[in-house]
Amino acid sequence: MAKRIDVSDLDIYYGNFKAVEGVNLSIEPRSITALIGPSGCGKSTFLRALNRMHEVIPGARVEGKVVIEGQDLYGSDVDPVDVRRQIGMVFQRPNPFPTMSIYDNVAAGLRLNAKKTSKSDMDDLVERSLKGANLWNEVKDRLNRPGSGLSGGQQQRLCIARAIAIQPEVLLMDEPCSALDPISTLAVEDLMMELKEQFTIVIVTHNMQQAARVSETTGFFNLNGVGQPGRLIEYNPTEKIFSNPDEKATEDYISGRFG
């Protein structure tokens, strides 16, 4: 049930500070879109604007349009809670619920929303999500142990399992591998390749090889200076970005000449 996302003229603010300016792009369904760029250029901010997580920060607001499959995300009759159920998110720092077991963490999306689910359905869902996140074999014998007792990489995969357990249509990932070892990183990348059969995936990454390996389309964000808003400099198929980018700045960034 992947969905297409169209963003037009999006400006994103923290109070009076304009963090991101004038973004226009279209994200294809059933694909992986990578966002790259130096830190502080607004990648996380942009990502959080896509599922209305941005506005949980006091004073934060958005101008412009984000349209998912014809529906305006910021329309006045749209409930942000519904938006977040359709558009899941994985954060940079793993954040499992410390009071819950591994099982309960995966089940949290349904449990916290008080969705009635039978025990066997829930067991299936937890197993499927943990397998999907490549964590099942490591934790199947200790599903009732606290999730915060796992290693950092395991915790991050637990968070991915938790996010895919609610079967969102779009999955946003903010540097999901920055806390992972290379093997877990590869596992997550394989996982993304599988997940894109069903989901639309948008991933922020600082790892150029990762963007090149997994994504179909890449967006390059940059900012002109401190205190200036970040902008989408170039948005093109990944192959083109990495071989023959339109913009000089993109080429400089990718070849490591700055940032």
């Binding site: 977040r84 949290a108 996010a163």
Partner: protein, 362 residues
């Protein structure tokens, strides 16, 4: 002063024979400071016997002489840096000792005097028809428990919800003014809280009214700000990432608070509530004017006067009757029971924070 310094620095020469020849910067054996203080104690004893014997003076002399002796000896044998370290150690331990004096002497005195009537009758009998020996504080103990329970039932929901509002929802001027009024409430003298409850109930029931629930209202005025403050601190400690994790799963804010924030903070919340109970359980003044005292059993906080332990102790001590000793003994035992309740609550608070703390074991 100068003689004592000489004497104490002379004393360790015999007690520290193992100083090496390596320029005197060797490490002291761990028993050396003890030996110095032992010598100081002997000196202080002699000094005390020469003048007039007094335990307080003896302790002061010992500590002063021992500290000076340790410093000088260490300076001679270990060098100035180590000497300052030892001096500060002595000062810190002395300060701790001074701080402990009132606590220990209070507990000692209450236990000593309260033990006389710490018997089964004290916990099973009221004062009805008692003149002279016997009788107990069963009615006062139950009164204290009932009124404290009512206070908790009133204060905890109000306090917790206020704290949740302040941390999770509050913005701008309303939040600022609530915080300000909570601060003001924290400083209200307890007698004022009692007068407030009294005035409130007089408006409804007419003058001279005494009810257990009035006491609970008065104590709530004192307890609510304590609960708000502690709960606020604890809720602020819950990482924002957990809230965001829940929001990102499409969980509404109120469910996030109920199912994620509060469970994560439950240990701290329960500890705070327990300590707040301990704070109000021994209040006397507000109960004196709102609940009064009675000699009979009354378990109904909505009907007439009740006895409570602090007020019971107050009346037993100030209006003991003849002969006075029986009532005074009962007052001390009531004080002992109160202290035990407060200490028990503190232990419970520690147990709660240990039991409910989020588990991170692998």
């Amino acid at each position: 002063m100068s003689t004592s310094t000489q004497q104490s620095s002379a004393a360790p020469e015999t007690s520290a024979p193992s100083q090496g020849a390596l320029g005197g910067h060797e490490k002291q054996a761990p028993w050396v400071p003890w030996a110095v203080f032992g010598a100081a104690a002997v000196l202080a004893l002699g000094f005390g016997l020469l003048t007039s014997w007094n335990i307080v003076l003896f302790v002061i002399y010992t500590v002063v002489l021992g500290t000076l002796g340790t410093y000088v000896l260490s300076r001679v044998t270990e060098g100035p840096r180590k000497a300052v370290d030892r001096l500060v150690t002595c000062l810190v331990i002395s300060a701790f000792g001074i701080a402990m004096v009132p606590l220990v002497s209070l507990v000692y005195e209450v236990v000593r005097r309260g033990a006389a009537r710490f018997d089964a009758e004290f916990f099973t009998a009221s004062l009805q028809g008692i003149i002279g020996p016997g009788g107990g504080a069963y009615h006062a103990l139950m009164g204290t428990l009932i009124i404290t329970l009512l206070t908790t039932l009133i204060s905890v929901p109000i306090g917790l919800m206020t704290a949740i509002y302040l941390v999770e929802y509050g913005t701008g001027r309303l939040k600022k003014s609530i915080t300000f009024f909570i601060d003001v409430m924290t400083g209200i003298p307890s007698i004022v809280a009692g007068l407030f409850a009294y005035a409130l109930f007089v408006l409804i029931f007419g003058p001279g009214v005494r009810l257990g629930i009035m006491g609970a209202v008065a104590l709530s005025v004192l307890m609510i700000p304590v609960v708000v403050r502690s709960a606020e601190e604890v809720l602020k400690l819950v990482p924002n990432e957990l809230r965001e994790a829940a929001y990102a799963l499409g969980v509404p804010k109120w469910r996030t608070i109920l199912k994620v924030v509060i469970p994560t903070a439950i240990a701290g919340l329960a500890t705070g509530v327990t300590l707040a109970i301990a704070r109000v359980i021994g209040e006397t003044a507000p109960l004196l004017i709102t609940v009064g005292i009675t000699n009979a059993l009354n378990f109904n906080p909505f009907d007439g006067r009740m006895a409570t332990l602090p007020v019971y102790a107050y009346y037993q001590l100030t209006q003991p009757g003849v002969p006075p000793q029986d009532a005074i003994d009962r007052a001390w035992t009531a004080a002992l029971v109160l202290i035990m309740l407060v200490m028990g609550l503190n232990v419970v608070a520690r147990l709660i924070s240990r039991l409910f703390a989020p588990k991170t074991s692998r």
